[in-house]
Structures are given as structure tokens and as C-alpha cells.
Symmetry: C2
Subunit: 337 residues, 2 copies
Amino acid sequence: MAEDAPRRHPTLDEVAGLAGVSRSVASRALNNAPHVSRAKREAVERAVRQLGYVPNPTARALATRQTGAAALVVSGEDPSIFADPFFAQVIVGASAALEEADLHLMLCLAATDRGRKRVEELLLSRGADGVMLMALREDDPLARMAEEAAMPVVFGGRPVGPAPRWYVDVDNAGGAREATEYLISLGRTRVAAICGRLDTEAGRARYRGYRDAVLAAGLDPFAPQEGDFTEPSGAAAMAALLADHPDVDGVFAANDNMGAGALRTLREAGRRVPADVAVVGFDDLTVARIADPPLTTVHQPVTALGREMARMLVALIDGQDPTPLILPTRLVPRSSA
Amino acid sequence: MAEDAPRRHPTLDEVAGLAGVSRSVASRALNNAPHVSRAKREAVERAVRQLGYVPNPTARALATRQTGAAALVVSGEDPSIFADPFFAQVIVGASAALEEADLHLMLCLAATDRGRKRVEELLLSRGADGVMLMALREDDPLARMAEEAAMPVVFGGRPVGPAPRWYVDVDNAGGAREATEYLISLGRTRVAAICGRLDTEAGRARYRGYRDAVLAAGLDPFAPQEGDFTEPSGAAAMAALLADHPDVDGVFAANDNMGAGALRTLREAGRRVPADVAVVGFDDLTVARIADPPLTTVHQPVTALGREMARMLVALIDGQDPTPLILPTRLVPRSSA
DNA sequence: GCTTCCAATGGGAGCGCTCCCAGGGCACAC
DNA sequence: GTGTGCCCTGGGAGCGCTCCCATTGGAAGC
């Protein structure tokens, strides 16, 4: 290690000493609290500059019982779930909102047992001021842990089961309904759904939305063709669909990855898109734009999701009681439908 | 907030009291340090369980002067740079390695002025035990800050300029050379390069690798056609290339996004890939697989990059002096070349 | 001129943990 | 019986900050 600076960090006491004031006054000056004369305030500022003083966040955390950090926990049995660019966008939003509140972002991938244990400890030990929880599974142990933790918790996307007290979600059902209605409005009558994992609330809600739209149009809904939100699973689901229902003329895929997979299978099967089969995805990630043909999809405000989660968490930390939020989606017509 | 647990967290003192030992003994038992009799150790364990005691990480951090966290700082003037799935993969690797060392991961997007200021404070105040720095620009103020910080710092990817003391990088030049040699081995003689930003070391090194390969084959290198690593910039660069050199028959794109953009432009221009123009990308992200045609590309071990950065940082924190690491790349032939 | 009040001040007690160190106790060798 | 070690043990001093509280002194009000 570079030992260029062998001298310890200056402490508040040293600042106070140099400024000729007490530690209390120095502290107040630093946090620009009242009851500090202009002269002393300036003396403290001068001393801070002269010493290159930077407050020790750990000591402050201990004294205030606030860590100055919020955690974003991403559940999932496989760490690579996080490789989905979806989370990256969530983080961009969350990070910006936390920055405004001067909170640091801790990222916890609770994929392994050890990871989950560490999250539990975090929750129990108040190692953060609050937690954002995402991608919980059905019966995810994190849900129980979060409930027991005496700490603000915001859910990103509702988990399966009863809705938590505080969450931010996207209007999955509404978006799926709109996508399906769009396919129907195009004259498609044999519209199938490639679902995401049905042990996630997003997977279920999107299928619900599809089903509602199909039923409302007086058509017959297809049984859910389940994938796992990955491109290969979408390709496989599309293949199964073609085998069972060769006359399918419209497909709602519960996310863009699976939609892209479906496009690939259709291309390999010699079906023209959208002439023979129209396809709509969900998410509006990069993959939708670069798919061939570019995928008509349901845009969900992912960055906003992260931002709103963080804002809700900050409100909670500030002792407020925000209301859950459901963000709107928007259909983005491209070439695949 | 749910006030189900209005009682404070038990402290070590309370554990010690219940176990009938001193705080010192309780502390030693907890950290399973020596000099604790079997009987007292068990008494402490019992008390811990009975009270549901969880150590306060902040207090421990203050006493040990170790925060128990490592930060991953992603620079860049635009927060959305982080939306690149590249970083998500790095995080998967880094997170796993940090988990092994029982360190938490703090994520800092140093895009805004405020973000940079917070990183500086983190560095100066030892708000983390170590820092991983990525995506630094030329003359990035973070480089100087990192240098001055009395804290272990590992670079992910070398910054422009003199190599830092500790870094993990990918063999950018080697990968680019291999990609270009591959194009040449296919009989292409007019091989162009769509470069990434040339104010990044990766952008420069990849162009260098391209240039070396072209020169070694006795061909004429094209002037760098600069993009910014995004799909549209790749498309634009390809259009410019076609305008200036209609006879181009091979393209090395410095990353997959730009490669995908190039494919799009070629398709729109009616050029067949790879018959008329062969294209090779770099990164081997999802986009390469789903591009049309699937993009031949240079795989770089992104997760390993994150893992090795974290391991190097842990070694540094442990007082060791690891050596810089350059990870190998691998050509992945698909259909575009 | 004498209360009344309040801004300004600094002392000191924590926050919950680690770790140094002096002091027992006990076994073993002399 | 007296040493010589060791292993345990618990007291206590921090780590660096915040914040309560008692104290002071000067301005304002009568």
C-alpha cells in the first residue's frame, strides 16, 4: 500500500483545537446547525480546510444511529439473473434518487445461501437505513426476513401473494392487456402468450392482462406457454406453440428476450413477421430495438421504477408514510406487429 | 414504520450480563478468539440466541477501523453508461468474490458532479475499505483522487496514460488483433475498423490491435472511424465507411453494440453479411447472439474481470501486494464473418 | 438599574464495539 | 513451599462523532 500519508486523519477535536473552539461548536458548524457565531463558524471552516478534515462517516453513523446507506437486494437462485440489463437501469434510477438524499447504495445479490444470510444480518443489524427488495420468488425467505426487520423496506415489483405495505410496481397487467388488444386490433384472432415464470407476480400479471384482453374480444385464450424470461426459453416456447397451434397468428411475449427468441424461431420456421405472425414483447430493452424485425413492445419505465423505489424509501426513512405506486406502461409500435 | 419491535437491539453488554461474563469475554467468544473457556463460550452462545443478538456493524467498524465494505465506482459523464450490461456482469463477479471475503458492495455511479464529490469524500474519509474504479476517462479527476486516497484502489481496465499500480484488464489489443487476423484469414483485404471512443484505453488498444494485424498482413489500415460504443454510433460509422470506401469487405467493430449497428446499416444498404462484408465485434454480450446474422465476436471474460478485481482488492486490503492481471480474450465465430 | 430571555458555548455522557493490560488461578517443575 | 509460566478474566480506555444540558453574557424590556 501507498504509505504516502502515514499521519492519521485529523479528527473533529483537532479541528476544534486549531479553530480555538470546543468540539461541540465545531460539530455544529460542520452540520451547519444554529447557535454558532459567524466568527467561530468561519474559524472552523478555516481549520477544516487547513487540516484537510473529512468527517468520519462511521463515527457519525454510530452516534446518529444512521448508516447513510440504503441497500438494493436482488433475490434469485442464480447470480446471473442480475446480468439482465433491467437491473442496471433500475440502479441508474435508484442511484440518482439516493444521491439526492445523500445516501450510499449497497448492492446485495442474494443468490447464494451465504448471500441470503448476509442480507438477513444486514436486515437484523440495521447495517443500512433501509432496503429495496427486488425479484422475490414465491415463498422467498427474504419476504419473511424483511417483515421481521425493524427497518424501512420497499418492494420493487409486488411479490406473489399479499401485497406488501410499500412497493413500486409497473402496470404489468395493463401493459399486457394493451399489447394483446393491439394484436387483436390488427385483426389477429389466434393470439397466444409466451409467459414468463408463473411463480413471479410479473409473470402472472402479464398473463392475466393477456387473458383479459383475449376474453374481452370474445376470443379463446391459449394456455400459458411458460418460459423463464430468457431468449432460448422464448425460442423453445415459440417452437412448442407452432407445433401445437400451427395457425397461430399473434404472439404476446411476456418480455423482450423471449420475444426475440420467438422471432428467431419464427424466422427459422420460415414464418414471416408480422405478415404471418405478429409479435409483441414487453420491457422495451435494447434487444427489442435491435431484434429483426424490430420488436413492437410494451415500454416500462425501468429507470423511473428505481428512482421511485428509492424516493419511497427515503420518505420512509424520513418517517413519512408514502403510498404504493404503480407506474404506467406504454405500447411502442415497431415492425413486428 | 412498523413499530413491532420498539425495544432496542440488545448490545454486547446485555449479552455479557445474561451470560454472566464480562464484555471482553463475550466479544472474544463472538469473534471466536482464543482465551475463552469452553463453558463461558457456550454461555455466551446461549445468551446470543436467547436475546437474538446481532452485532452492530457500525460500532465494530468504528473500533476496528474497517468498514466491511468495498466500493465499485463507475465513472462517466452520463449515468446511463451504466445501463450497459457489461457492468452488470462485472458486478456479478465482484459481488461473488466480495461475498467470500465477507465484504459488502457499495456501488457509486460517479456521473454527476455531486456523484464525483461523494466518491471523493468516500475516498478521503475511508468510507470503504477499498475501491474498484472503472470506466475512467482521459484526465478523469477520479484518477487523481484515487492516487491521493490512502486506500487500496484497483482499476478495472487501465485508464489512458501511465498504468496504475494495481489493475485488472482484458487483453484488448490481443483480442482486436485476433479478430482482425480472422477477417484477413477469410480473404478480406479491405478491412476497416469502427473504433470506440479513442479517449478510452480500451478504444485505443482495440484500434492498435486492429492496426497491428492489418500492417502485419501487409495491408493498409483504415483511419479510425470513431464511434462511442453505442449501436447508433456503429450504424453511423458504417454508413460513413460505406460512403468513403464502397469497396470495404471486412469490418472490425470495437464492441458488439457498434457491430450490431454496422449490421443494421449494411442490411439497409443491401450488402450481404458476410458474403459482401464480414463483420466481427467485441465483448460477446447478448446483443451479439441475437444480432442478425449472429455476430462473430471476441469474447471477454467480464464476470472474471469483476471477480479478479475484487480478489485483488481483498488481497490489497489484507496487506498483500498482488500483481496486475490481464485476462485473455477468445474469438467466438458465429455467422457474420 | 434590574430582571428576563435567548443566542452562544463547552463539558461530558454516550453510541456499541475492540483490545490492551494487569491481575488472578492453577498446574507443573524446582 | 516457592517459583515460573500460562490461560482466563474483566476493567477500562479508546474509536470519532452527536447531542443534551448547564452556564455565560449581552441585549431587550420594565
